[in-house]
């Protein structure tokens, strides 16, 4: 079937709901309206009001209720309308979703997939462009995934629905309708915790994910470089093996993400490489990321998020060092 990321996730949710009647969707405007990005469109008609729920406007309520459903045997898929509003449910995620399994010594796992649109580049109002992956990766207990294409989106969603863990499923709005791919009609899984090696080459490694994947591909292609492009797909727990293998091979590493530089995911990745493969490096690691400041209003966003020029200059630095 031909699918963009919106229809791929929609299809994964439909298959997941057919497979398992404990899968329940809930969130603001997800039922009758089909979600503000139309990701849940048509599912109310297919599965009814008991399984596709328009909730009152309250994020902590949505996540807390989902946790309750999960520890009582259901497999909820809450949607938070934009990642910027997920902070209203931060307590439930950090204090309970991340810890219920651990505090109950696995008697009460929290099988749940929290879907939310992330990142910018589409000129939206304040709080609609956040890249919050590190917040959810830091405390342990939450799996954080972010697909960059329709194939991965469907496979990661089905995998998440087959696990007994809370999965934070980040959907880059910029990529929702960017490309259409031919993807399998049936259910399939993309492994969680495994990176996708997109291109391979010996010149350098570009480690990235989400909205920055198309930018990495474009720059590498335009400059006709032979590079490993590593799409992490899972941000926590990430694929350290793939990262180290590539870093050892090329000795030159650029880490690229839309989240801010300071204490961003690149800091953790660079630290792992420094700890475990520093003697294989031929150049200092370079990170390319957004500025270390609150995501600006839409008029300024082109000055905030990494562009091709910034990545290209970073590549020059690791190649010439």
């Amino acid at each position: 079937m031909q699918a963009n990321m919106v229809t791929a996730i929609n299809n994964a949710l439909e298959l997941g709901m057919r497979e398992n009647e404990d899968v329940i969707l809930l969130g603001e405007d997800i039922a009758k309206d089909g979600g503000v990005f139309r990701v849940t469109e048509g599912l109310l008609d297919k599965f009814g009001e008991e399984r596709v729920i328009d909730t009152p406007l309250a994020e902590s309520g949505i996540i807390g209720t989902s946790i309750g459903m999960a520890i009582a045997g259901l497999h909820p898929v809450p949607e938070i309308q934009f990642a910027g509003f997920m902070f209203l449910s931060f307590s439930q995620l950090v204090n309970h979703a991340a810890r219920y399994r651990s505090r109950s010594r696995s008697n009460y796992p929290v099988p749940m997939v929290v879907r939310t649109p992330v990142s910018g580049g589409v000129k939206t109002l304040e709080h609609h462009s956040e890249s919050p992956e590190v917040y959810y990766s830091h405390m342990g207990g939450l799996i954080v995934v972010e697909p960059s294409n329709p194939y991965d989106a469907k496979g990661l969603m089905l995998k998440a629905l087959h696990m007994q863990d809370p999965v934070i499923f980040l959907e880059p709005t910029k990529l929702y309708r960017l490309t259409k791919l031919d993807i399998p009609e049936d259910s399939y899984e993309v492994p969680i915790g495994k990176a996708n090696i997109i291109g391979t080459g010996d010149d350098l490694s570009v480690i990235t994910y989400g909205t920055m994947v198309p930018i990495a591909k474009s720059v590498i292609e335009k400059r006709k470089l032979n590079a490993d492009i590593i799409d992490l797909r899972t941000i926590n727990p990430f694929d350290e093996e793939a990262i180290l293998e590539s870093a050892r091979k090329t000795g030159r590493v650029v880490i690229l993400h839309e989240a801010s530089l300071t204490f961003g995911p690149g800091a953790e990745i660079a630290a792992r490489i420094a700890e475990k493969a520093v003697f294989d490096l031929k150049a200092p690691i370079v990170r390319v990321a957004s500025n270390s400041l609150p995501y600006p209003f839409p008029g300024y966003e082109k000055y905030h998020i990494p562009n091709e020029l910034k990545l290209s200059q970073a590549i020059d630095r690791v190649l010439t060092a």
Partner: protein, 361 residues
Amino acid sequence: MGVFLLKQVFSDNVNYIQILDENGVIDESLRPKEIDDKELVEMYKKMFLARQYDAKQLSLQRQGRAVTYAPLIGEEATQIGSAMAMRPNDMFVPAFRQHGVYITRGMPLETLFIYWRGYEEGDAVPKDVRGYSNIVPVSTQMPHAVGIAYAQKYKKNDVAVISYIGDGGTSEGDFYEALNFAGVFKVPLVSIIENNQWAISVPREKQSAAPTLAQKAIAAGIRGVQVDGNDVLAVYEATREAIENAKNGPTVIECITYRLSIHTTADDPTKYRTDSEVEAWKQRDPLLRVKKYLMAKQLWGEDLEQKAASENAKLLDEAVEKAEQFKPDPKTMFTNVYSYMPRVLQDELDAAEDNNYWQGE
């Protein structure tokens, strides 16, 4: 099972106020005495300007000259009625749809246009407007309003704080927490609930099982009242009275109004509501009833309306022109993060400038 001794420990009720009805008839016994016919013409003109501003923003958005916009059409009486009841020193705390409040309180129109072009400079509300910035995360402004009101009380300022929230917003925890604090601290807060019946696609009855939103005040031990939010006189009077009473504590005013248009320019209401519902509310248009009254008294007519429209158009065009001359300086992203410039942030700024990152695509 024992025998229960039943004793009622609590009861209360919520009153509803309407002064100017849909046919343009004023209940003179309830009419606020400051609002003579001349003043009512002023109110009408303000509502008319707000509506025209709204149409302008929409058309700019459709032409790609503004970002996603949240229209106010249908909610003018709630916004202008409450804003006109504020005394010069009172302060307001909006959500993100209260353009009519900003306009009434003297916000430069060009600043509003700059906001909706997508720049922080448009959210830098001048101090003399005595209002705060647009707040997008629903309901999160409510605890701020309590804190702002506490500060007034602490400093012994005779200032009331008027906050705004939608019907959907009253479902958030922050709303309940704010009312509870306001009740305990007895702060001079007037919490306007702009109940336009919809929170994007979710109708009022799916938001809460409570028959009124005003009654949420009662649980917090504070006063709650419901008014016809399309009746500018009722909104004015309820707000005026609540401000007068603010030194004794907070009031919640639920204004029953209607979102006549889209939620925002990114929304398609045909997916979730019927045209007939919208048509029914158009009969209760907040401008129409004032116009009916004023026309019957020969204080308004199509000639005056034409004149007002062309005056407004001139004001709006000039403001848009100024707003479109505004040139963003990316440095301001860095210089407004902290009270001082940390070395590590300065390094990022220098790198951006030295390497021309901002010229890249």
